[in-house]
Amino acid sequence: MKRDMLAIGGSAGSLEFLIRTLPVFWAGLGLAVVIVLHRKSNGDSTLTHLLASRTSMVVKEVEEKESIIPGVIYIAPPDYHVLIEKDFTFSLDYSEKVNYSRPSIDITFESAADVYGDRLACLLLSGSNADGVMGMKTAKAIGGLTAVQDPATCEMPYMPQRALDEVEIDFVVNDGNIREFLETCDGNQRESDKSV
């Protein structure tokens, strides 16, 4: 079934995976993507520029109350939690860290699950804490698609491994099958135009 939102969470080691695989994300992908990465809290936006240079999709930092549009990759800003409202807009939150993290992956996954229900797909990447696992559980419970980066390919396998241990995972993603995963999220449409 087609999903409307792909939420990706990552911590230590996840940036490398994104840099390698983002060229596969094609403009015209029929869902919105939000990426929540743990990072230093200094306010610069170089991460957004870096990721934007790797894909033909529009990549931008989440802005407060911004409407969510399919085909766009949204990056969580440093030092804010990202939540999703019922009217498909983002809201930001500067509350306590969760799992020692702000932005917290759990917060975005849970909030997205609340709004998108089974139209949500979650992907948890390399990392060395368990942020995101709880959110994956919530997503799975309401019929969302769950995926992790193959721990064998992770610099820090702890995070996806915890998800595999605790949640039923639908898809184990690696460099070789990322396109197949995206097609699954997009409702298995065979894209004729998947040029990178």
Binding site: Y80, S91, L92, M134, A141
Partner: protein
């Protein structure tokens, strides 16, 4: 919040209605996702077995209500958070305000007061504190009590000291407080210029005119309509050529009064009232 949530959207509406009818707290125009999370957070923190018991406690236990208000509103703050913002305040805004005979500043939604003390330190270093008054308001009387005391936990001082240096601080940060065990108390000379009062941005009106209003990371918790209402309140409370300072991810740009304000201080969210 794990799998099945404790307070549903319907339950949330019931609570919002209770809070407004019984206590006059109007949270209906708060950004829903964040507010719902806060409600579910305190529900599980305080170990309620059911929504009914949660609601009963809020309706009937006035002591608990204080805790509830403190926990559902976000009170996370830091001294000198966002060094570049404070550098811009110092170089772009205080240089203008310094020419006035008297400076009135409003910290709207000041929480436990960290930004108010940061501001007082800036004013002192620019030689302006003696002719300044800092009005600090919050919806929540508990946090104001804390702010008024000038007492903060020692654990954050290392971080705040770094923030202060990055923000262009001119002295030794520890010269502004005296430490005893795990707590520090900030100078009375700073506190003597502060006035603390409860004020609800949702329901209370303008109470003075200011040359600078600081309201950082408060508006993100409001929906768009409420944000516009609060901007109107700020406009009513701001002198011509006065300044508004917002959080890094907040902007006046999309408000109906945007054309009368000019962004000031480079990339920082500082806006000046031009007409």
């Amino acid at each position: 919040m794990i799998g099945s949530e404790a307070v549903s959207d319907e339950g949330l509406d019931v609570l919002l209605n209770d809070l407004l009818e019984l206590y006059g707290y109007d949270f209906t125009d708060y950004a829903r996702a964040s507010f719902k999370r806060r409600i579910n957070r305190i529900f599980s923190l305080d170990g309620f077995p059911s929504f009914a018991e949660f609601r009963y406690r809020i309706r009937n236990d006035h002591e608990y209500l204080k805790r509830f208000i403190e926990e559902v509103t976000v009170n996370v703050t830091e001294m000198f958070r966002d060094a570049s913002f404070y550098r811009a305040l110092r170089s772009e805004v205080l240089s203008v305000l310094g020419t006035y005979p008297f400076i009135r500043i409003w910290h709207a939604g000041c929480s436990t007061g960290e930004e108010v003390y940061s501001m007082a330190i800036l004013l002192k270093e620019e030689g302006l504190l003696h002719k300044s008054l800092l009005y600090a308001t919050d919806i929540n009387p508990q946090v104001l009590e804390q702010a008024r005391s000038g007492i903060f936990s020692m654990t954050h001082m290392k971080q705040y000291s770094e923030n202060y240096i990055n923000a262009g601080g001119k002295h030794d940060f520890s010269s502004y407080y005296s430490a005893s065990y795990d707590r520090v108390k900030f100078d009375d000379s700073l506190r003597s210029k502060m006035i603390f009062a409860t004020h609800n941005l949702v329901s209370d009106r303008s109470f003075n005119e200011f040359q600078l209003i600081l309201c950082r990371n408060v508006l993100i918790y409001f929906d768009k309509d409420l944000q516009h209402k609060v901007f109107q309140l700020f406009d009513d409370s701001l002198e011509m050529l006065g300044f508004i300072g917002l959080g890094a991810k907040e902007t006046l740009r999309f408000s109906p009064m945007a054309n009368r304000f000019k962004q000031y201080g480079g990339r920082e969210k500082i806006f000046r009232k031009m007409s």
